[in-house]
């Protein structure tokens, strides 16, 4: 349908070019705006990453070649923040994907109050991320008056164990709060996937005597594959960039500093512009690798939509 070529007078060169620009016209504002605001800064980052530039020593600016990159990759703190980013992202995405799938399967059935349960489940995703992080840190994890230890005291009496959740298990604390926020997201995508299965195929399988597990294994799971991939990749894109939870819950301490936090720190507190930019370029390269796969998944899903 996309080739709705209007009967333009063929053969007349200038007219044709004018028509082409008439088509491009509506696109240009958005395109130019996006390029100027989102792409030029990356270019600047790339340039700065090759300079020796610390805002605290403005007279010592100069060309650094790959100095910042060797410094970034040689800095154990920055290297560990790369690992932290991977661990944080993979664990949040995997756990919320599995939980989201289980919940989507529960919600794909008819039961009393399904709409209410769905609404309750979406709520965590609709709490402002900083607010959610503060809620977990102070109202739930706090060792003295947090809800978790309060429940322990309530159930086991005054002698109950009172763990200091964030210091004892910092990574687990950050991951849990993010899983709580992102499971609804995965659930929504997977539920949409479940509801787009063709009822005829499901009915046919049932008539043929396929059990619930066989239907899940041979029809539901293959159908859901793209939705699982889409959820995983979108989750990766957003969670790799997570700043709010790390910043609020642990302030990057106790081995939870991920790349966005470390870049923020290098730039905002150490004022080392060169190194912050080099770290930024490394993150961009890493994201591009992930993005290549993501684009493939999204485009295959779109093709399917178009075929329907």
């Amino acid at each position: 349908m996309t080739t709705v070529s209007l009967p333009a007078p063929a053969g007349v060169r200038p007219r044709r070019a004018a028509g082409r620009w008439a088509r491009r016209g509506p696109l240009l504002p958005a395109l130019l705006f996006t390029i100027v605001v989102t792409q030029l800064p990356f270019l600047a980052t790339l340039v700065i990453s090759f300079t020796d530039w610390n805002a605290l020593y403005p007279d010592r600016r100069g060309f650094a070649a790959f100095g910042n990159y060797t410094a970034v990759l040689g800095d154990p703190q920055l290297r560990s923040s790369i690992l932290t980013t991977v661990v944080l992202t993979v664990s949040v995405v995997l756990v919320s994907l599995v939980l989201g799938l289980a919940i989507a399967l529960l919600l794909d059935r008819r039961f009393h109050g399904r709409a209410i349960v769905r609404t309750m489940l979406i709520a965590p995703f609709l709490v402002v991320p900083v607010a959610a992080a503060l809620l977990w840190k102070h109202a739930l994890y706090n060792p003295e008056y947090g809800l978790f230890n309060g429940i322990l005291t309530g159930v086991f009496g005054q002698g109950a164990a009172q763990p200091d959740w964030i210091s004892d298990a910092p990574m687990f604390s950050v991951v849990s709060s993010l899983v709580w926020q992102w499971t609804p997201f995965m659930m929504l995508i997977l539920l949409a996937g479940l509801q787009s299965r063709s009822p005829e195929v499901l009915e046919a399988a049932r008539v043929d005597g396929a059990g619930a597990f066989a239907v899940f294994r041979h029809i539901t799971l293959p159908h859901l594959r793209q939705y699982l991939e889409l959820g995983a990749l979108l989750g990766c894109i957003y969670i790799v960039q997570n700043f709010d939870a790390v910043f609020t819950i642990t302030a990057g301490g106790l081995g939870t500093a991920n790349l966005p936090y470390t870049i923020y720190q290098t730039f905002y507190q150490a004022h080392d512009y060169g190194r912050a930019s080099a770290a930024g370029v490394i993150v961009v390269i890493g994201s591009m690798i992930v993005a290549t796969f993501a684009l493939r998944v999204v485009s295959s899903l779109l093709k399917q939509e178009a075929d329907r």
Binding site: T38, F111, G113, V130, L140, L147, G150, Y264, G280, E305
Partner: protein, 292 residues
């Protein structure tokens, strides 16, 4: 679609529905209960936040929690006494103005990508998506330096520009997928009648695409309202947004739990209301329009 699925079973039960119901029987009832338990578990922290916000500081800081403590709105009163209004107004300005800009820009871009498409329109579409996949933090420093240079630091219009750029790719994708559904025949008829682009936009496309525009606006509003990293680095006392205000709120000494919960609730309310009001649009927006 969910409407038809969740139609009350049994009222006008057609015969084919019968055997399924029998097979579900008791197992189905148990799974329904499990779903309820999971739903309550996920909702509980939100409820706890609201519940705590309605307590006095002393009652909020008890261990085990005092469920019978009298409710009070002191937390909210204290929160509003610290004058969060400038921050809330900044957030509202940045979110609403950037959303409006995004919708207009994306509507025209969507027209050029779906209705009278430019050549290689799918490449352009994917270019928009790639910009969203690159971590914004990598561009933070140059933005800071440029803003400093042209005197836009701590200015809410800088945040309007940045949030517009942040949400534009999502909006273009969504708009493309919505405008692709506008029937070609109608557009051709309008063209034959000699209607020009603004007229076609207003009379033909807008009415058909308005649910899509609503979905796009919802998502852009939520993302702009939630954003913190850029706001934290690029704004200060003048243009600070609500999330920035919230983080500065905790440094207070002494008991502050009820107050923090009140602040967190108050700042989340616009998003909660918008999200609940348009649950079905959330999925579309979050998946960039790939999932309908």
């Amino acid at each position: 679609m969910t409407q038809t699925l969740s139609a009350p079973a049994g009222t006008t039960a057609p015969p084919p529905a019968r055997p399924r119901k029998v097979r579900r029987g008791r197992g189905g009832a148990i799974l329904g209960v499990v779903a309820w338990i999971v739903g309550i578990a996920f909702f509980f922290p939100v409820a706890w936040m609201v519940f705590t916000s309605l307590h006095s500081e002393q009652a909020a800081a008890t261990n085990p929690p005092d469920l019978t403590a009298p409710l009070t709105t002191d937390g909210y009163r204290e929160f509003f006494a610290t004058n969060p209004w400038p921050y809330l107004i900044n957030s509202a300005t940045a979110s609403i103005v950037s959303t409006a800009l995004v919708v207009v820009l994306a509507l025209f871009a969507g027209y050029a990508l779906a209705i009278r498409p430019v050549r290689k329109w799918s490449d352009v579409l994917f270019f928009f998506l790639t910009t969203k996949m690159l971590p914004a933090v990598a561009g933070l420093l140059p933005v800071y330096l440029i803003a400093q240079h042209i005197g836009l630091l701590d200015n809410i219009w800088l945040m309007v520009i940045l949030y517009t750029a942040m949400n534009l790719p999502i909006a273009v994708w969504m708009m493309h997928s919505f405008l692709a559904e506008v029937p070609v025949a109608i557009l051709e008829a309008a063209a034959l009648d000699g209607a020009r682009l603004p007229t076609v936009m207003r009379r033909v496309i807008l009415p058909i695409a308005s649910p899509g525009i609503a979905a796009t606006a919802l998502i852009c509003f939520i993302f702009a309202w939630n954003e913190m990293l850029f706001a934290r680095v690029l704004t200060g006392v003048v243009a600070g947004t609500a999330p920035v205000f919230l983080t500065s709120f905790v440094t207070t000494q002494g008991l502050f739990l009820a107050k923090v919960c009140a602040a967190a609730t108050a700042i989340s309310i616009p998003v909660l209301v918008a999200g609940f009001a348009a649950q079905n649009k959330l999925v579309q927006g979050l998946s960039l329009g790939a999932v309908k």
